[in-house]
């Protein structure tokens, strides 16, 4: 009897429209508040929040590319890799692809390399690339997948990390970098892929950022992780910083106005040394 009474009461409540209205409002309120909390958390974590919220699993814009995207030119497995020639140092970059951030953009603008493709932009970072960020490549705004699908590249140089020094840990940086490398390997199986280590910043910049992130201690840590990553992936790595450094292993003060970006003549030195050490 009690069960029956309770059952009837419940039925009455369920039939009450006001109760349903109340229920809907509570649900909407909770969802709205939950959305605000997520926004606030993203603002607090900054770059790392962007990294954490990035869809970097197999469903990313990069990973969604399929073999169908690869042009006919890539079905030809022969890529013409020109060896280093001191009489034509930039010949080694013939047909190459450079992937990077503002420093790579400086390389593009000032080094005089005019026989390669550049996929680079200011503030470029791994998560932006994996999220499908488009940049101007030979007059078209395209993503990394579309850039990799353009043609077969004999050499691909990847230089990323300066803009990720502020991430909570290097683990996420390395994880996402690994995803990018996997995609490059998949789309460009015949390319020689080079992980370029980060060029240090000037001593004055590093000291100024001692309590921050854009300092040479952090760069050194990231470079160790990059070496490890390259070795695990069976890829080559290059450290092009030797002629750019002072006696303490910092970027020469005279090489930069802000401690990070290079003056024109030093972009040329970087390019020439990179060509020389490419193997």
């Amino acid at each position: 009897m009690n069960l029956e009474k309770n059952g009837n009461k419940t039925l009455k409540l369920l039939k009450n429209p006001k109760l349903w209205i109340l229920f809907v409002f509570i649900v909407i309120l909770i969802m709205t508040l939950a959305g605000r909390c997520t926004d606030l958390r993203s603002q607090e974590t900054g770059n790392t929040g962007a990294a954490e919220n990035t869809a970097v699993a197999e469903n990313t814009a990069v990973a969604e590319s399929t073999d169908n995207d690869i042009s006919d030119s890539q079905s030809d497995n022969k890529v013409n890799r020109i060896p280093y020639d001191p009489n034509n140092p930039y010949g080694v970059f013939e047909g190459a692809l450079f992937i990077g951030d503002s420093r790579t953009e400086g390389l593009r603008v000032y080094s005089g390399i005019d026989n390669a493709v550049f996929f680079c932009a200011k503030s470029m970072s791994i998560d932006k690339i994996l999220n499908g960020k488009k940049v101007n490549v030979n007059g078209s705004n395209i993503s990394i997948s579309e850039t990799l699908a353009l043609k077969a590249y004999p050499r691909i140089y990847v230089c990323l990390g300066i803009n990720e020094l502020g991430w909570n840990s290097s683990d996420e940086f390395i994880r996402q970098y690994g995803i990018l490398l996997d995609e490059i390997i998949k789309q460009q199986p015949d390319a020689d892929i080079y992980v370029e280590l980060l060029i240090p910043v000037t001593a004055s910049k590093s000291e100024k950022e001692a309590g921050g992130v854009v300092n040479n201690t952090r760069i050194y840590e990231y470079n160790l992780r990059l070496v490890d990553l390259a070795e695990k992936k069976g890829l080559k790595y290059l450290n092009p910083d030797q002629p750019l450094l002072d006696e303490n292993g910092c970027l020469k003060e005279e090489a930069s106005t802000d401690g990070v970006h290079l003056l024109r003549e030093y972009y040329i030195i970087w390019a020439e040394h990179l060509a020389q050490i490419t193997y």
């Binding site: 006001k18 109760l19 209205i21 109340l22 409002f25 509570i26 909407i28 309120l29 709205t32 508040l33 959305g35 605000r36 503002s102 420093r103 953009e105 400086g106 593009r108 603008v109 000032y110 005089g112 005019d114 932009a121 200011k122 503030s123 101007n136 030979n138 007059g139 930069s256 106005t257 802000d258 990070v260 970006h261 290079l262 003056l263 024109r264």
Partner: protein, 185 residues
């Protein structure tokens, strides 16, 4: 009791959603203000003019502007092939061009382009369009890179000199303008 609860929850919901809308609007307004200032220049195509057509070399004027203005960063002349990769303008629309870019640390820049003689007005329009697209790209790039640079990007000097258009992105707009006027005295 139920009615009171419904009223209270409804009011809370309205206040919460109004807060979200306001912050979204504020963010949009801030971005819109930055873009609109550039767009104002886009609509005018140039924010100053010297009507007389002078015969000069783009490289010469660009070097003069660089030598006679203060820039925070070191600017260097870029290769013309790179210039036409970065600026969305065809080589056959431009008779002469020269550009000085920064190291990447700032948005400072000097660009001088002279329209090709065939279809001068169309070519001038294309040059102005290319300048404004460059500004939009730079604003997008610097907004989360070095946001302080947005101040100078929102107030570039774009000056038509006869069949040429000069763009200078720097902190001192007035000095840049006077430098150009002095060059043509």
């Amino acid at each position: 009791m139920k009615k009171i609860l419904i009223v209270i929850l409804t009011l809370t919901l309205i206040i919460t959603m109004a807060g979200c809308e306001q912050s979204k609007q504020t963010a949009n307004t801030a971005a819109d203000n930055t873009i609109n200032e550039v767009s104002a220049d886009k609509n005018a195509s140039a924010n100053d003019q010297i009507s007389k057509n002078y015969d000069f070399q783009a490289a010469d004027l660009a070097a003069y502007i660089y030598a006679n203005n203060k820039f925070k960063d070191q600017l260097s002349e870029i290769n013309s092939n790179v210039l036409f990769e970065i600026y969305d303008v065809d080589k056959d629309e431009v008779k002469d061009a020269c550009s000085y870019f920064s190291t990447g640390a700032t948005a400072e820049e000097i660009t001088v382009m002279t329209a090709a003689d065939s279809n001068i007005q169309d070519n001038l329009a294309e040059i102005n369009k290319a300048y404004n697209e460059r500004l939009e790209d730079q604003i997008e790039a610097f907004s989360d890179y070095v946001p302080e640079e947005l101040t100078k990007l929102s107030n570039p000097l774009i000056m038509e000199i006869g069949n040429s258009v000069v763009m200078v992105v720097c902190d001192d707009y007035d000095r840049a303008k006077q430098t150009i006027l002095d060059y043509f005295k």
